[in-house]
Symmetry: C2
Subunit: 349 residues, 2 copies
């Protein structure tokens, strides 16, 4: 039985949910997936760090209080985050990076990824920063070190988008995509269709935990812009940086605009899109678009996300599902690990 040793970097909701899945499902994965997972290290800027080369109890970790330095309560734990030691010296095969997205320089997550890849460890991450800002460097680093760098969860949490396009749509000639890639802004638009004003709709999203205290990144399209860079570079082999993507958000839409759209059989959606132009260049944007009701994305409501791929051989193929959520995002990490396992299994046959 293959066992992968994981070091969890960042121990917020997502990696806690992964630990919970490990606690509940490791036995079942033996037969279902052909491997088990063992946590050998955890590090978190707030909670501290711990290394346990023989394996840490996933159930105990999930019950850790969210208190500063709490990992020091466990035998061998520390109140400080010894990130470098946990990444380099815990004996992990796979580094599970789930710290916060830094949209400015991708740090410290990018350094975490570099340390891991340079040390010959696979990296799975849900973090948009390293991929959107330093993706091509990190992918090259992974290739040179013959390890995997997987990031399905950086777009639409666990809903398969990157892997769907890369595997199942290989050869279909993807020429572009349009996506609803931010649940908060889509929830706001759906609430406005129900009659709430923009500010009220944002407040409702905050109440329900969809929107952060500062909703700017969500409603002004900055979050979607990072995802457009990731998808365009991955699916269209673009070399985009964030500044290549024009960006406008939904805060300028009024209830009158929403109502007018309804009367015209259409809906406003915040669309992140990229497209290969006739000259081979890639254009990309984030903007509110008026979609007629028969557009595949028009009916994607509330916090649901979706991407519609434009393909040469199949026309439009659309996938929709959750765009956020702790367990949903933890599943993305699991699906990355499954992908690593499938490649390894093939190699060893």
């Amino acid at each position: 039985m293959t066992e992968y040793k994981l070091a969890l970097v960042g121990f917020g909701g997502v990696n806690r949910a992964l630990a919970q899945l490990i606690a509940e499902r490791n036995e079942q994965w033996k037969t279902e997936l052909g491997f088990t997972l063992k946590i050998v290290g955890v590090t978190d800027l707030f909670l501290g760090s711990i290394i346990g080369r023989e394996g840490l109890d996933a159930g105990v970790l999930t019950r850790l209080p969210a208190a500063k330095g709490a990992l020091a309560q466990l035998p061998g734990g520390e109140a400080t985050a010894l990130n470098e030691a946990v990444i380099k010296d815990s004996g992990a095969d796979i580094i599970v990076e789930a710290t916060f997205t830094n949209p400015v320089d991708g740090e410290p997550a990018t350094s975490f990824c570099r340390w891991a890849l340079e040390g010959g460890k696979h990296v799975v991450t849900t973090n948009k920063g390293p991929i959107a800002l330093h993706g091509s460097e990190l992918k090259a680093l992974a290739r040179r070190n013959n390890v995997a760098f997987e990031y399905e969860g950086s777009v639409m949490s666990g809903t398969p988008v990157i892997r769907l396009a890369r595997q199942a749509l290989a050869g279909s000639s993807i020429g572009g995509f349009e996506g609803i890639l931010n649940g908060t802004s889509n929830f706001v638009l759906t609430s406005m269709e129900g009659g709430l004003g923009f500010a009220e709709a944002v407040a409702k999203a905050q109440e329900l935990g969809y929107a952060e205290a500062d909703p700017t990144a969500d409603v002004e399209g900055h979050d979607v812009r990072l995802k457009v860079v990731i998808l365009a570079n991955e699916l269209l082999d673009a070399k985009l940086t964030v500044s290549d993507v024009t960006c406008s958000g939904i805060s300028s839409l009024s209830l009158g605009d929403i109502e007018q759209a309804r009367q015209d059989g259409a809906r406003w959606k915040l669309i992140g899109a990229a497209k290969r132009q006739a000259d081979g260049s890639i254009s990309a944007s984030v903007e509110p678009r008026l979609l007629s009701n028969d557009h595949p994305l028009a009916s994607v409501c509330g916090a649901t996300n979706a991407v519609s791929f434009s393909t040469g051989l199949l026309g439009a193929v659309t996938v929709s599902g959750p765009g956020a959520g702790r367990t949903e995002t933890a599943f993305a990490l699991l699906s990355d690990i499954i992908s690593i396992h499938q490649s390894r299994a093939h190699n060893q046959e």
Copy 2:
């Protein structure tokens, strides 16, 4: 460069479209996919057969007139379909089976698949009959002979459903699915929402080439039933046969029903579904269901198909795309070949 030798069994629209793709894209596939395809045999009950171990010209094949015995016009061609010789003795690595679906006993396609698998050849097919009626036997035969048996195109043409579930959703705990799996019946329902009566809507579908002269299999759910068997056995590890799936079609729906649904914020859809019950058994059905407008399948209109997977870790994940079409279905065959190539490439690394 890897080259796969193909024998095409059945040379109707789908395999002609595949030959067209080969004629147009073989060069581009070298870099894009890492392999090229060579046609070494073709057999068709109507057109006859031909073997060309050094490779047949794909372009010439696509221009073959649709006339009885037409393959005899080519050097070395025969007016009769020497199926067994083409499958067993053409030197093919992969048998591309795209003959008609026989919903009664799956023949002659099932025998074609058996000959190929027993002879150590991979099989890719778009044919529902062999999978729905003899799937477990043929899968076991493929395993025993260490070859692949792939059939993405048997459900929703080239839109990834089987491979999406098997690869990208592995580990997500799929507990069931609901699908709009027949374009003709969905087109009829959409036309009825536009005010046409059932008979008029069927006539319109026939005019546009969506419905066959006898639309029974489409509108009474028989076509969907085969697909439900295929998906339930594949995704839920069920052991269903066709008679285990309750089946009713859309011919009993009136314009009044459709209008009442509209007033209630809902839509009638012909849904093929299967679900794991609490006791572990699998229930499966084909029936018209009233879906509220916020259901992920409610907005799937016209000839588009869709499947919504119910997963333990992600909730609902839905994929929609074309459910038919020659090139779209030929892409399914290509995607099966890509999958075979990826497994082989891994094995040889």
